[in-house]
């Protein structure tokens, strides 16, 4: 129910507080009434037809590098078999 999908904003209609987002080949008009600012090219979380939040590309990269760092452990071989 709280599922929300990251989708790219490809056009804006600020007068109607609407945007068209692309999710792969799918195009969907959504409401941007809950966002303060949004630009074409932003990724937004779409939930029941509304953009809830903009995604931060910098934070996403930082999260991925922390995930990589967690797995980069010199004692990894001590942990036994690798995950299947």
């Amino acid at each position: 129910m709280c599922l929300a999908l990251p989708a790219e904003v490809i056009s804006l209609d600020l007068a109607r507080q609407a945007a068209v987002v692309a999710l792969g080949p799918v195009r969907k008009e959504i409401s941007i009434a809950l966002l303060d600012e949004v630009a074409i090219g932003d990724f937004v979380l779409v939930h029941v037809g509304y953009a809830l939040h903009r995604l931060s590309p910098e934070e996403a990269e930082r999260t991925l590098s922390m995930m990589r760092a967690a797995g980069d452990c010199p004692e990894a071989e001590l942990a036994g078999e690798s995950a299947a």
């Binding site: 709280c2 999908l5 037809g49 809830l52 995930m67 452990c73 990894a76």
Partner: protein, 382 residues
């Protein structure tokens, strides 16, 4: 960066699984409640539990709005559609949830009631504008994620002077439910359910921020790690919770930093505050009456409140006999502990609410885990 596949990468999952195995101390167990159904779904769909060492356990929480809505409120929605002859607009998740006497909105629709499945609250506004001679009611359910879209629609109806649109409000609040679980006798005494840490909601937190969990972590001395819904998010948040438990810390940490901030979405919070106020008490399936755990429409928007506009009978609905959904929602039992699981109750033919939504613990077990999970006492139904 598409924000999906990157967070499902196998090599990173292997690295995180290795880190969890290294850091989970063999002498203790780590019982982590994932509050959200979205997390439950991810854990089962991607086999996250199978990547954990045997002392790291996930306990499924009540974070599935479809599952926690009591039967009586669905009976009320049926009454609106059938007795008051309104056009009832509902999200698809609610269509198949069993009400009293195994009725459902889907069956009511088949019998001729005007039940419309909508994608967005904007659809409900459009239906009201297209049918000026009919009363249109939005069956509004969900946690803080789904509440702002309801508030926007209600305000738009007021601005446009729509006299045939109202909202049957069932919006509920996450922090109150987490608090209720920790204070339940089963958890408080740790007699039956041990919960060491929580994975906090993803998208609810995008709206309310991480700050509302801070008093909870402090008072109940349990770590809360806000986690995204992708499998790598769940794994990284699990590692963060394990580290907190190892260090003896109980803080609110945010793994889902690409979306969640401490203050959340202020604009969404503002529109919700404008339209809704706290309900003194609301009944949850599995938790019973919980104080200050839900919202109702403010008096200034009374004209758009279906509960004021229509006479709705108080419900005396009872849970289906033998259905363990209430205990499953509290984390006190597993789906496979229920006699009905796979034995009359399946996603195709749900008896309890946890089998309806794909985020329900029973549906997740049935779809992804029933051949893997030995039931306590008997083999899981095939």
């Amino acid at each position: 960066m598409k924000y999906v596949d990157e967070f499902r990468a196998r090599d990173l999952a292997e690295g995180l699984a290795g880190a969890i195995r290294r850091e989970a101390a063999p002498g203790r167990s780590y019982n982590i409640m994932e509050f959200c159904g979205g997390h439950t779904h991810a854990i089962f769909r991607y086999g996250v539990q199978d990547l954990m060492p045997s002392n790291v356990h996930y306990i499924h929480g009540p974070g599935c709005p479809v599952c926690v809505l009591p039967i009586g409120r669905i009976d009320n929605a049926l009454e609106l559609a059938e007795r008051h002859k309104v056009i009832l607009c509902t999200y698809g998740d609610m269509m198949r949830v069993p009400a009293s006497g195994r009725r459902s909105l889907l069956k009511a629709k088949a019998d001729g009631a005007d039940v419309h499945m909508i994608y967005s609250t904007q659809d409900a506004l459009r239906i009201a504008a297209e049918n000026p001679t009919r009363q249109v009611v939005l069956f509004a359910i969900g946690f803080e994620t789904t509440t702002p879209p309801t508030a926007i629609a209600l305000k738009a109806a007021a601005d446009r002077g729509l006299t045939n649109f109202s909202v049957f409000c069932n919006h509920v609040l996450t922090p109150a439910a987490i608090k209720e679980i920790v204070e339940s006798p089963e958890v408080r005494d740790s007699a039956r359910v041990a919960i060491d840490a929580f994975l906090g909601p993803s998208h609810v937190s995008s709206v309310i921020g991480s700050a509302p969990y801070e008093p909870f972590a402090k008072v109940y001395r349990r770590p809360v790690v806000i986690a995204g819904f992708e499998p790598l998010d769940v794994m990284q948040a699990t590692l963060m919770a394990i580290r907190q438990l190892n260090d003896g810390r109980h803080e609110v940490e945010n793994q889902y930093v690409r979306v969640v901030t401490r203050e959340g979405n202020r604009k969404a919070q503002g529109v919700v505050d404008e339209v809704f106020e706290l309900r003194p008490s609301f009944a949850w399936r599995g938790l019973g009456e919980v104080a200050d755990s839900a919202l109702r429409i403010r008096a200034e928007f009374a004209a758009f409140d279906a509960e004021r506009r229509f006479e709705i009978s108080p419900s005396t609905a009872r849970e289906p006999k033998s259905c363990e959904c209430p205990s499953i929602l509290r984390g006190a039992k597993k789906p496979t502990d229920c006699k009905l699981f796979g034995n009359g109750c399946t996603p195709d033919n749900p008896i309890g609410s946890c089998m309806v939504s794909s985020e329900g613990a029973c549906a997740a077990y049935w779809t992804y885990g029933r051949f893997r999970q030995p039931a306590s006492g008997s083999e899981a139904a095939a």
